[in-house]
Subunit: 345 residues, 2 copies
C-alpha cells in the first residue's frame, strides 16, 4: 500500500521507483530521453500519489515564473468595483490564463517592508506587468516602465510603454458626425471628466477640434467639467452647464457613461425630457447604459478586444521575440444608438 500523506519530491519518488531524480524531472517536463515504459510508470505513480511539483523550486531554478503582475491603482477607493476596468482585466485574465500565465496583484507592502513596484516585481520575478489603471503622478510607475520588465497598459500613455487604447478621436468624430447628419442639431454642449485622465483629455481636445472642423460654434460656456468619475459628479455637472449657458443645448456629449447617467438623472430633476428637450450621448457603453431609462446612446469601447490585445502584446514582449510591436495600438470604437437620442428625418 502507498502512503498518500507523505510529502513527495522527485527525490523520494525516484527512490520509490528505483530511478534517478533526473529521470522523474525529465518525464515531468516531457523532454529528454526516457523510455516509453518508464515514462508511463512514472506518470501513473505520480497521478496515484497526487504529486505536484513545487513551483518555488522550479522558479528558483528556471527563472520563469509565468506570472503577470497587475497594477490596479485604487483611485478614490473604487478599485475592482469599477466595472469598466474590471471588465477589461477580466478579459485579459481569461486570455493569459489560457496561455498558462497567472495573475498577481502588485502590492506595495510585502512582509515587513514597503516596496516600490519595481522592487516587488523583481522580488516576485514576474515575467511581465499589466498596468490596468495607473496614475500619472505615481513616480514609482515610471521606474517600472523604464525597467527591463515588459509592461503593457490600457490606460496610460507614456513614452516607452506599450499601450492599447480605444480611438478616442474617432469616437468623438463619429458622435459629432452623427449629431450633424442624423440628429440635425447644432447647439452642442460637452461635459468632460477630469482631464488628468489621458482619455478624458483626448476626448475634450477632439471635441474642440471636430466642432471647428464642422464649423460649429464652440465657446467655453458650452463645456462643463465633472469633478470626478462617477454618477454624482455628472449630476452636478449638468446643473453647472445649464447655469452657464445662455441658450439651452440641444445635444449634450458626455465623455463617459458613468458621468452621462448622472447627467440623465440631473436632466430629469431639471424637468428636461430626454430626448425630446435635450439629447445625450455617452462614451464607454458600460453594462448599465442599456438598462437606464432612457437607455443611453453611447460610443462603445470593445472591452474584450482591449483586454485581449493587451494580453497578446504583453505575451509577445515576454517571449522576447524580436519582432517590432508599435507602442500604441488604437482600437476602433462604435456608436450604439439608443433612446437618449432621436433621429430627425
Amino acid at each position: 500500500m502507498i502512503d498518500l500523506t507523505k510529502k513527495r519530491t522527485i527525490y523520494n519518488i525516484a527512490t520509490e521507483l528505483n530511478l534517478a531524480p533526473g529521470t522523474i524531472s525529465k518525464v515531468l517536463n516531457q523532454n529528454g530521453n526516457v523510455s516509453d515504459q518508464t515514462r508511463a510508470r512514472v506518470m501513473n505513480y505520480i497521478k496515484e500519489v497526487g504529486y505536484v511539483p513545487a513551483s518555488s523550486a522550479r522558479m528558483l531554478k528556471s527563472k520563469r515564473t509565468y506570472t503577470v503582475g497587475i497594477v490596479f491603482t485604487e483611485e478614490s477607493d473604487v478599485g475592482l468595483e469599477h466595472s469598466f476596468f474590471s471588465s477589461i482585466l477580466q478579459h485579459f485574465k481569461t486570455f493569459v490564463e489560457k496561455q498558462g500565465y497567472e495573475l498577481s496583484f502588485i502590492v506595495k507592502k510585502l512582509g515587513q517592508h514597503e516596496l516600490s513596484y519595481y522592487e516587488w516585481c523583481r522580488n516576485k520575478r514576474v515575467d511581465g506587468v499589466y498596468i490596468v489603471v495607473g496614475n500619472y503622478n505615481d513616480q514609482g510607475l515610471y521606474e517600472l516602465i523604464n525597467s527591463d520588465i515588459p509592461c503593457v497598459s490600457t490606460d496610460m500613455i507614456v513614452p516607452g510603454l506599450h499601450t492599447v487604447v480605444s480611438d478616442n478621436d474617432q469616437g468623438i468624430k463619429i458622435t459629432l458626425d452623427f449629431i450633424k447628419e442624423h440628429l440635425k442639431k447644432e447647439k452642442i454642449a460637452f461635459i468632460s471628466g477630469p482631464v488628468q485622465s489621458k482619455a478624458f483629455h483626448e476626448r475634450l481636445i477632439a471635441f474642440k477640434r471636430e466642432m471647428e472642423r464642422l464649423e460649429l460654434p464652440c465657446e467655453d460656456t458650452q463645456i462643463a467639467f465633472a469633478e470626478s468619475f462617477g454618477f454624482t459628479s455628472g449630476y452636478n455637472a449638468v446643473s453647472d452647464l445649464m447655469k452657464q449657458m445662455h441658450e439651452k443645448p440641444e445635444v449634450i456629449v458626455v465623455s463617459s457613461d458613468d458621468i452621462a447617467l448622472g447627467v440623465l438623472k440631473g436632466l430629469r430633476d431639471l424637468d428636461l425630457r430626454v430626448p425630446e428637450d435635450v439629447q445625450v450621448i455617452g462614451f464607454d457603453n458600460i453594462a448599465f447604459a442599456k438598462h437606464f431609462t432612457p437607455s443611453l446612446t453611447t460610443v462603445a469601447q470593445d472591452r474584450k478586444m482591449l483586454g485581449e490585445m493587451a494580453a497578446k502584446i504583453l505575451i509577445k514582449l515576454m517571449d522576447g521575440t524580436e519582432e517590432h510591436i508599435s507602442e500604441i495600438t488604437k482600437l476602433p470604437v462604435e456608436l450604439i444608438i439608443r433612446d437618449s437620442t432621436k433621429v430627425n428625418r
Copy 2:
C-alpha cells in the same frame, strides 16, 4: 563605483562587503545577532544597489508563501464584472494586504497541465484559500474544502467550510415587518433568483416562513422566479408574475437588486407606476440602486464587513491559533428606504 545592473544575491553582497552570506540573511530577517554597525552597513548597501531577496528561494526554504488563493468561479461569463462580489473581494484584498498577504487567482491550467484546485494550491503552496464565488456542482471544490488547506467563503455553505454570510432570514424579516407596519400592505409578491444559489434559496424559504408568521396569504402564484442573475431576467420575471397573479400585488419583494432593477423597468413598461401602483424592495444595495429612478428600497449587505470578516477568519485559520472559530458567521443587514416604497401614515 558600484555596478547597479549586476544581479545580486546575498552571496555576492556578502563578498562585496567582506561578510558571510548568513550575516546578510540575518539583517534581512531582523533576527539573530548582528552588530548595529554591520547591520547599518548592510542595509545601506542593499538600498544602494536595490537588492531584493528572491522570494522563490525564500519560499522554498521557509514553507510560508504569504499568498492567498482566490476562487472566483466565472458564472455565466461575469466574473470580476459582477460588482457585488468584486466589491467584497476588494475589501478582502485591502485587508489581507495590510497583513502582508498577497492574492493569487486559482487557475485550472498551469503551464502544460490541467490541475485541480487542490493540486494548484499545493503546487503554489498557498497558505489559504478564499472562495469568493463557488459552484456547488464543482466537485473539485470539495476536494479543496476537505483538504488541510485553510479555506473561507462568503458564498457557499458546506460542512467543514468556514463561511461568512449576511443574515438572509433577518433581511426578509425586517422587510416584511416594514411592509406590514409602515407600508400597511398585505398583498405581497416575491420574485426569487435561481435557487441553486444558497442565498436565494434561504431568502425564498424565509419569505414563506415570515409570511406565515405574519398570517399573510402566500400562494404559489405570488411567487415568480428569475431564470438568471441579471437585469433582463428580472424584467421577464415581473411580466410572468403579473400574468400568473389573479390580483395585482401591492408590494413586490425581490431577492436581489440586479433582478429588482429589471423588475422596476418591467413595471414601467407594463405602465405601472412605482411606488404609486406597486412598491418594490430589493436585496443587496448595489451601487446603482440609489441612482435608479425611482431609487430602490433595499436590504443592504455590509460588503466591507463581509470581505474583512472573511479575511480575519482566514488569517486566524492560517496562523493556526488553536482558538475555536464558529463555522458560520452571520452578519446583520439593514433596510435602506428609498423611493420605490412609500410609507403610509
